[in-house]
Symmetry: C2
């Protein structure tokens, strides 16, 4: 069994190119280019809470960095580096080798260097802090940055969601034995849960286009709700535009009506609106950006779907195609709430 | 019981002054001054491993930031900000209020702002990433920085230790019932274990004086050993100069001989050399810096004790006052080693 320092040397020490100094000293050193700011985000993943303890370590390595890169994407930042703190019940090569492989493959794909961290014995817990770069903007008010913030939405702006929503939550329901999915749909949905794709290129491209942005980790209602609260406004969300974002429902044999019949009529709504673990971006933009966003969607090969409109009145109002209110009691995911988001 | 967002708002959201953007968005934003680099360090503390689960949460709040500030000190960096990730079995005000108080009191004392993080339910685990500022130095080789590194020691340099060593380890022995200390000495030693003082001012003052530096978290032998390995050299450590660094032994009623008799002759040696949890600095400096270091010690009111000399031959050689080799089998603390440092 490797000791702590051997473990760090074997799996987590790599040459750095963007950082001034990487793993091995008391601190790592980063220097941003003139006029740039460092965007920083931290996520902690706990076994049994955020992932099954027996999940494939390669996929877990991917996911724990992906959820952090998603926060950089939400700010429009370019990934630079990350720190990794890891508590492990035991230091096993059979677990560490694939974990490091999954982690570092995603890191390499985004040019995001591992610059430091900590390893210790303890209940399996992964804490990653990620560093990205965004241009400063001395003229921007009230925050002198070009970073995408949650606080910039204006009444009249339209609300977009990238990619698909709710499939990760549907996969979780299936893995918990609460729904049954055809194997091909389960496989696709499970990939969304276990190997999410952070929208890093989209986030950077949205600088100058989006007025506000957040990533969807706790469910659309919750994360859009936080964006609205920080922007001091509300939104009217068209449920009929959101529900088709559940890819498994669209691909279901027999069609979406058959999906609703087999899975329960409200399952799609619940997964899309309050599922969580999507790691898509929800963002707002003025009407004038519609054509720019259509072009960006084409360039990235990524659907950008308008689902809501920003209104001055606070709160999030769900409406159907006819404009009638849709009643719901979906809660977004809260790690300390007593009520869980899924039935 | 507060929910996740209420908990963050209540205990961990404060206005920022040094950061561009603090808690509440997907990322925090930091901008270093021109010519400065960011020094970054991460430590993860696990209940039952790094602290007793029932430790006073005020002291725990202090300690988990102190151990990170100690890493900044070891690099000669000025504290700027930190991120906090916290897994908690439950969100209890009775625990969170004093924890936040201890944490933020130390943060305020060092002008170190809380800029972000994560909270989740899980086994009690605290992961802090701290950010400090050091001047760049384009002319410095091989790393263009004024930061103190572990890699700069040269044969002929002298090795210094700040403050006192081993009292934290002695307190741990006493709390585990393996030694008995008089109440006043236990109290003082326990304060060293539970409320360590990061040597932040010393670290910054050592820039331009010390040739290499590390903080002592895993025991002098281990941390000096890492410094020597990174510097590709060795050292000759005079045990008789190190042992008096155990404050409890010097203050013992009846004197140090009585301490050795009551506690076991090798207890002091073991605590000082391989105890860990000291959070003092071990650093090297050329002979020419002796007077500068004496003046610095006076200014800071902090002893700086010469304990060893750097030699070209790799390895750490322990010698007594007569220059004879001292046999030992002390291991430094390794979180995955099967052998523990303390008897």
């Amino acid at each position: 069994m490797p000791g702590e320092f051997e473990l760090i040397a074997r799996y987590f020490t790599r040459p750095v190119h963007k950082a001034v100094l990487g793993v091995g000293d008391d601190c790592a050193l980063l220097q941003t280019a003139p006029g740039m700011q460092l965007a920083i985000s931290t996520d902690m993943l706990v076994a049994g809470r955020h992932f099954f303890a027996d999940v494939d370590p390669f996929l877990l390595g991917h996911k724990c960095l992906a959820v952090n890169l998603s926060d950089l994407a939400a700010c429009g930042a370019r990934p630079l580096a990350f720190s990794l703190a890891l508590a492990l019940p035991q230091a096993e090569d059979a677990w560490l080798a694939p974990f490091a492989k999954g982690l570092l493959a995603l890191a390499d794909a985004h040019g995001c260097e591992l610059i430091g961290g900590d390893t210790t014995r303890g209940p399996l817990t992964i804490c990653i802090t990620v560093y990205g770069e965004v241009p400063a903007d001395a003229a921007a008010l009230p925050i002198p940055t070009q970073a995408l913030l949650r606080s910039g939405a204006q009444p009249g702006d339209e609300v977009y969601v990238s990619g698909s929503l709710g499939d990760a939550a549907l996969a979780l329901l299936a893995l918990q034995g609460r729904r049954t999915l055809p194997p091909n749909l389960l496989q696709a949905a499970r990939a969304r849960l276990e190997q999410p794709t952070p929208r890093v290129a989209l986030g950077q491209a949205l600088r100058g286009i989006a007025s506000a942005c957040a990533d969807i980790s706790d469910g659309l209602l919750g994360d859009l709700g936080h964006l609205l609260a920080r922007s001091h406004c509300g939104a009217r969300l068209e449920v009929d535009k959101a529900v088709p974002l559940l890819a498994a429902r669209q691909a279901y044999a027999g069609g979406s009506a058959q999906f609703d019949s087999d899975m329960g009529a409200r399952t799609a709504l619940q997964c899309v609106l309050a599922g969580g673990d999507d790691y898509e971006l929800v963002f707002t933009a003025p009407l004038a950006q519609r054509s720019a966003l259509a072009a960006l969607s084409d360039t990235l090969g990524l659907p950008l779907t308008r689902v809501a409109t920003i209104e001055a009145a606070p709160g999030l109002r769900l409406v159907d195609a006819a404009g009638h209110a849709v009643a719901h009691d979906f809660a977004s995911f809260d790690h300390f709430a007593t009520r869980l988001a899924l039935p």
